[in-house]
Symmetry: C2
Subunit: 575 residues, 2 copies
């Protein structure tokens, strides 16, 4: 354990008269993913001498019309002239949208910044960094840790979520406590017996001045308490038990307690475990090493050896519930995997069916699996999957225990924020105590007051292939046009002196019309191009003027003939 | 009323010894949309003298990766040499996936084919045909009609659905009755008082030999009965009543009874009606003309005059719940409509939130509306929207009343079909009586037996702009590549005799990298191209060989440098 992490008593000074704190979301307020929050403390309000801690460093996922984009990461521009003031990056839990940007951001901000993370997240981060050929200083914290960083005194608070080892952070400063309530729910009956730290939460509420609660709000359009992971046990085991042949279970790869359940019910019903797919394999190996899952060697069957077992002796844990094209499940569905689905198999989707951009893909897989003869069980009414996020009453409980002065919702889109606000109103809280910043606003606290008077400039940083941030609005707009109606290009070799074409126009079309079947249209366009060239050529010839005229004419003519609007690219080359 | 539609008694001959009937789905079995079913009757089994009726003629919607495709229509190739044997197209109800392909198909099959449709569908079809500059012979049928067409004796059977005037068809032939159970539910408490025709259904079950039930199965993964439209009344009115400012309601445009409810609750709470958007305007006009909705002139306020009213005196019925980019609601959300959302407005989504490809768009609209200050109410737990499709018990009831020999599920994807089959098993029916054809299989009935031994060739007929069926696999594949990583083209002017380049290569890239910011990469590629040209040019020069070599090299080099795979188009022009 790092020297910075100590079990020490409260030892904080009383509020400095002019100390100030900024909270900034580098992944934008009002987003579910790409979590990265800056807490910037200014002694005596002097931000040129500020101290910074960062909470989480995760990736986001592209919008559906951001074609070709792999990932999105928070914009760290704000930090670039403040690198030496960054005390640490503190990670709340091991989900990709909280840790996935570390490998992109560390090389920018400095490989020496210490990272604090819970045990499981530490293992996931290390895996990722090794893959990327990077190193980092990671300090592992647990329920009993205190992290003291200059003017920050941080107490991790254990909560429940869809991955073990998830924490909230009580961030104490001379202004009081800022409670970072990242993704969580209260699971009163946790499958691993690890309860949320109700004592710590209520102590903070009772003994501290909680200035602001930053809270996950994703589940706040659901009433009541978020169901316990244990609530699916009976249905889940029933589904596994009643499988007549092979049983396949798919879920979120990092959902280790779900795999733990699947393994347990499988074993209890005479099945050995086959792990299929890189991400599940990695998660289960880490979970075994860290003691989350106990799995004897004889409980596991490598894929190569499955033919030595009867179908009803095997349970497969398969990566790729969301239909990512390179995942194991996708390959199985497309018949590109060594595992072939056949009649008598059962496939259990113990996973969410709504993730932006994936819903249709999930249902297409289910249809195809059913078609291949498998019985497919998928989530309806929280029978075999529950969310890792709190519902209205989880939030009401957290607020009731902490009684913060202000509340700032994070980790949700605007509709979740509004539902959360409504719930706060029903709790009797005033809207004045509700902080609802614009995506790029800075929330500044001074003397228990806050303002959102300043903004930072936040751009989208998109990852495509090896490129970080080099895919911008122009490239995306072009991709949308190309996707919709393809491209039509014409190359004209021009003798500018004579004002003549040296050759017939050379046409090139892709994704627009199939050239072989549309020769008539292409010939028509070719003759129109030559005609327009003659019409506008003039002496001396203005190449750009002619290019524009031909482009304009082609746009009109192609739309008139086809109703389509491909990208039109005339290229006039002077020879 | 057409002479063919008569109220006549059963007058059918006994089963001919060798008569046969084929059922074909021209939009594929196992699809929800593009409904178009062929019933082909062969007297004495002689299919060269067959008689054909068609049930429904609807469009489908493109898959998410079928970029630029507007619509899909059934493939009518099978009918092209049998046009003169088509007796009629019979429409079950006025949804686009049952009527929308008429304007594409009639010009192919013959403008003279009589169409039979219920009153409301007739009006929708006529609207669409007028827009397309076409005419058709449409005969309107109702609950009391019988349609007699040569060897077919057809009795429409009223059922409930999310559009009024929806029918099943009892298609009687010498083989017995084929009951075409298109989209439906049993709504015991219909909002318009129009009950399903339980008498007709039970008479058919009791008195006829029902050979086969073709049944909607879309809702069969839901338990119990599909909730009544009336079940949302209380919540729906509460939402309207509690709106403090303007209230906006969006729903499926053709869902006339939903609009009827919205109007009634609006009026009862002192609000006048503003209709916003082409499709809702059309639907409500038709509904008024046909008497489904009663709306006095003084109940309606044209958009131009809304400023004469206080906010709480207006209810807006808005087209575009699914976020179609050209719809009124989309424009309002993007700030491109004369109606601007402001604080105090309430927007009610009385509509499904899951339609393939639209879910993310719907939630994005909800987020944006909330951000603009509106209170947004959207469907959770069937509180303000119910499905138009039957659930398991609706189906159990229909089967129990009809007691068909065979069952053939239609109108659902494979997962729905499997859920329907499971329900049939629970009803105690044997799998032998369950017909599960491949998408392109022909189901042939003879002597109460069936086989699926023959197939027809079905291709995807995609509509893009004015083009019908001219967007094929190649164009779509190119669009996917272009969407993902754009294109990179290089034009080389070649002196083949000398084996030399006449000019430096001209590069053209779109959607790949932004040229202005990536000059270094483009210069590198340019010099590599020249190098490869020199390496492979040879004498005599083989232009295609050099082109391929350059293409191969560019693919490798671009992937190595960028991790991207744009479409690479080298163009060598001989000068």
């Amino acid at each position: 354990m790092n020297a910075n992490i100590q079990n020490i008593q409260k030892q904080f000074t009383q509020p400095g008269t002019n100390d100030a704190l900024k909270i900034i979301s580098l992944g934008s307020f009002g987003e579910v993913t790409q979590n990265m929050f800056v807490y910037e403390f200014a002694p005596q309000g002097n931000f040129s001498k500020s101290q910074i801690i960062i909470v989480d460093c995760g990736v986001g996922f592209p919008e559906e019309d951001e074609f070709g984009v792999d990932l999105q990461i928070p914009d760290t521009t704000y930090l670039e002239d403040k690198k030496d003031r960054i005390q640490a990056i503190i990670i709340t839990h091991g989900h990709e949208d909280h840790i996935g940007a570390i490998r992109f951001v560390l090389p920018i901000l400095g490989q020496n910044i210490p990272i604090y993370a819970p045990k499981l997240a530490t293992a996931f981060i290390q895996e990722r960094l090794i893959e990327a050929g990077q190193k980092a200083r990671i300090n592992t914290y647990d329920r009993s840790s205190i992290i003291k960083l200059d003017n920050f005194y941080i107490k991790p608070v254990a909560v429940n979520h869809s991955i073990p080892d998830t924490f909230h952070l009580s961030i104490k400063t001379s202004l009081g406590v800022f409670y970072h309530g990242s993704d969580f729910k209260f699971d009163f009956f946790p499958i691993d017996g690890k309860h949320a730290d109700y004592e710590a939460i209520s102590r903070i509420g009772n003994d501290e001045n909680v200035v602001c609660l930053l809270s996950d709000c994703l589940g706040s359009d659901h009433e009541g308490f978020s169901p316990s992971e244990a609530s699916i046990a009976q249905n889940f085991e029933y589904e596994i038990k009643t499988g007549k042949g092979r049983v396949f279970v798919t879920s979120i790869s990092s959902n280790i307690l779900r795999w733990k359940q699947a393994i347990e019910y499988g074993k209890r019903n005479g099945r050995k475990v086959v792990v299929v797919g890189f991400s599940v394999d990695k998660a289960i190996k880490i979970a075994q090493e860290l003691g989350y899952i106990k799995l004897n060697k004889e409980d596991i069957v490598p894929i190569e050896r499955i033919k030595n077992f009867r179908d009803n002796q095997l349970i497969f844990l398969v990566a790729g519930f969301a239909g990512q094209p390179t995942s194991a499940l996708s390959k199985i569905v497309m018949g590109k995997h060594r595992i072939k689905i056949s009649k008598g198999d059962k496939v259990i989707f113990s996973s969410p069916d709504y993730i932006p951009g994936t819903t249709s893909g999930i249902y297409k897989m289910i249809d195809n699996l059913a078609k291949m003869g498998a019985e497919v069980t998928y989530g309806k009414d929280e029978a075999i999957h529950v969310s890792g996020h709190g519902y209205q009453k989880d939030h009401a409980l957290l607020i009731s225990l902490l009684r913060p002065k202000y509340i700032l919702p994070i980790g949700g889109n605007y509709r979740h924020i509004k539902a959360y606000q409504l719930m706060c109103q029903q709790l009797g809280r005033s809207d004045d105590q509700f902080i609802l910043p614009e995506p790029d606003e800075v929330v500044t606290f001074r003397h228990n007051r806050f303002d959102t008077n300043s903004k930072i400039s936040l751009r989208k940083v998109l990852i495509d292939g090896f490129g970080i941030g080099d895919v911008g609005a122009t490239v995306l707009r072009d991709r949308r046009t190309l996707a919709e109606d393809g491209m039509f290009s014409v190359v004209l070799l021009v003798d500018t002196a004579q004002g003549k074409l040296i050759k017939e126009p050379v046409l090139l079309s892709r994704g627009f019309v199939f050239a072989k079947e549309n020769q008539e249209l292409l010939n028509l366009l070719k003759s129109e191009i030559m005609e327009k060239f003659r019409e506008y050529v003039g002496k001396p010839m203005n190449v750009e003027f002619v290019r524009q005229k031909i482009q304009g004419h082609l746009e009109e003519s192609i739309f008139k003939h086809t109703g389509r609007q491909p990208m039109i690219l005339p290229l006039l080359i002077e020879v």
